[in-house]
């Protein structure tokens, strides 16, 4: 038993299922996520990763199962409660920064939005906090009034991360956070994410195609296929000693998903 497992899980999922008509999006998904733990979800295209993440983050309603956050039944919450929690305790980093940013609003405004959404009403303080966060994601302070449409893809993604983490959430959902970026940019971004997650003690659920991403970020791993979790465990264990034939294929250099 590890130290983590002696504390109460932050996020508990049981028998989650989402269908699109007759087609399975995901089914029978259960897991516990402990405070400060990062879980990776890998699997081929169409295996149900985004569907699962969408259900977990409250973007879509599952057809069956339960989700508890910090002991509270998420699916039984009223919409206002869930939205409030989603903008204080949770964060969601989209694969495409354009989905997670307001492109017509300055970098400072993007970072400040969540502060204002939770009641921040002091312009000077909001600006100081935004400046500080731009620094943390390695964006120069003098870009604070520029619009993200003038930023590179990597900068946009870092801005999206700052915008999400500025209110100090406890749980972060990420869907392919490094997808669509150049390899060198990916590596730097991963490093940055890892540093922030560790320093802030965040719990995170990270969906990715990329086994390098999970190896670097994730404490634990779930492998999905056809909407089901076919293998789960500590990242190193699963990657170094895969049990399921599909996982073996996945980690062998033969199959690059």
């Amino acid at each position: 038993m590890t130290d983590l497992q002696m504390t109460r899980p932050l996020f508990s999922v049981r028998d989650l299922e989402k269908r699109y008509g007759a087609r399975i999006g995901c089914t029978g998904v259960s897991f516990d996520l402990y405070p400060g733990e990062v879980m990776g979800i890998v699997g081929e295209s169409g295996s149900g990763k985004s569907t699962l993440l969408g259900c977990l983050a409250g973007h879509m309603a599952p057809d069956a199962g339960t989700i508890a956050y910090d002991g509270r039944d998420v699916l039984a919450m009223s919409e206002p409660e869930r939205r409030r929690m989603a903008r204080t305790d949770w964060a969601f980093v989209h694969q495409n920064p354009r989905d997670g940013l307001r492109l017509s609003v300055s970098a400072g405004g993007n970072v400040g939005e969540r502060l204002m959404a939770v009641g921040g009403r002091n312009y000077g303080k909001i600006r100081d906090t935004a400046t500080d966060w731009l620094g943390r994601v390695e964006i120069a302070a003098d870009r604070i009034d520029d619009r993200p449409s003038a930023f590179s893809g990597g900068m946009q993604q870092r801005l999206q991360i700052a915008r999400n983490l500025v209110t100090g959430p406890r749980l972060v959902f990420m869907d392919e956070p490094t997808g669509g970026l150049d390899v060198s940019v990916q590596a730097r971004l991963l490093d940055l994410i890892r540093g922030l997650v560790r320093r802030m003690g965040l719990s995170a659920i990270v969906v990715t195609h990329d086994l390098a991403v999970v190896r670097l970020l994730a404490d634990r791993l779930m492998v999905m296929k056809g909407g089901r979790v076919i293998e789960a465990g500590l990242t190193d264990q699963v990657l170094d000693d895969p049990q399921h034939a599909y996982t073996q294929l996945l980690v062998s250099s033969v199959l690059q998903v």
Partner: protein, 291 residues
């Protein structure tokens, strides 16, 4: 004489009932935008068809109507709307704020304090204050429902970041009864305090966007701001050159080819009333017809 081809105030009774229901709903939920089935009016949208429909639904034969545009009663828009109701409803009209029971307006709230016996009708081009930042109607509706207005402050934040102060001069967003954020229509922010706890019923009609909303008398209306950038009901730092008023909203008027200019009350009725009572501004003597 009422033109016999039309029902009283142009709209048929069913339509007026439908609009009144929307108004009542708006009054019951101050600041909430009520959808309504806007009708074609015999004037283009930019001419205040939303306000005209609300006025038509509220008018009674006993009413006295005042119509203002940019504070004045004699601009083309104001004149044509006033004539429209004279012709279709045969109501009395006035230019005096005090004598009016219903005032349809674009851009201004009169300087003279309103009373419980009056209704203000505002012409609204864009009723949704969140529209420029969030184009999705489903999202803005959610934000209103949940009073989730961080985004509205983002707009003010951007304003300060760009200009060093809140530069929004018109259509300055307000919070109604600490629930709904509302567009006050393109009145100058100088007029915003007049919305707060006004004794008059205030109705807002947007024709093209098909929305009606309302502030019942004595509704609490607060202009949004930041602690370190508080709301200010600013105006030009002058007195009216005609009547000397120091506390009324002023228009800047070019008076000659040499770049000469003067400041005059935008509320022409207010200015004329003061001059009739003997007040004289810097250029007040002999410039009666400058506006």
């Amino acid at each position: 004489m009422t033109d016999q081809a039309y029902n009283f105030a142009y709209l048929d009774e069913d339509t007026k009932r439908m609009i009144r229901r929307a108004i009542l709903k708006g009054v019951a939920i101050p600041g909430y935008q009520v959808p309504f089935a806007s009708r074609e009016m015999p004037m283009p949208y930019g001419w205040g068809t939303g306000g005209v429909q609300v006025t038509a639904a509220c008018l009674t034969p006993e009413d006295t109507l005042k119509v203002i545009d940019q504070g004045a009663d004699d601009t083309t828009n104001a004149v044509s709307i006033r004539r429209f109701f004279q012709r279709t409803a045969d109501v009395a009209v006035t230019e005096h704020t005090r004598d009016a029971t219903l005032i349809q307006t674009r851009h201004r709230i009169p300087e003279e304090p309103l009373t419980e016996d009056q209704i203000m009708v505002f012409q609204v081009p864009i009723p949704e204050p969140l529209r420029f930042l969030e184009p999705r109607e489903t999202e803005t509706r959610k934000m209103h429902e949940l009073s989730d207005y961080g985004l509205m402050h983002v707009k003010l934040y951007e304003d300060i970041a760009k200009n060093g102060h809140i530069a929004t001069a018109y259509d300055y967003p307000v919070m109604v009864e600490e629930h709904y954020v509302m567009s006050p229509s393109p009145i100058p922010r100088f007029d915003n305090p007049k919305l707060d706890r006004s004794p008059a019923l205030m109705l807002f009609g947007a024709g093209r966007e098909q929305r009606i909303y309302a502030l019942p008398p004595y509704t609490k209306v607060r202009s949004l701001d930041f602690e370190d950038h508080p709301f200010e009901a600013s105006k030009a730092d002058h007195a009216c050159d005609l009547c000397g008023a120091e506390d009324s909203y002023l228009d800047e008027v070019i008076v000659d080819d040499a770049g000469g200019r003067m400041f005059v009350c935008s509320d022409t009725d207010h200015c004329a009333g003061r001059r009739a009572a003997g007040h004289v501004g810097r250029l007040g003597a002999g410039t009666e017809d400058v506006k």
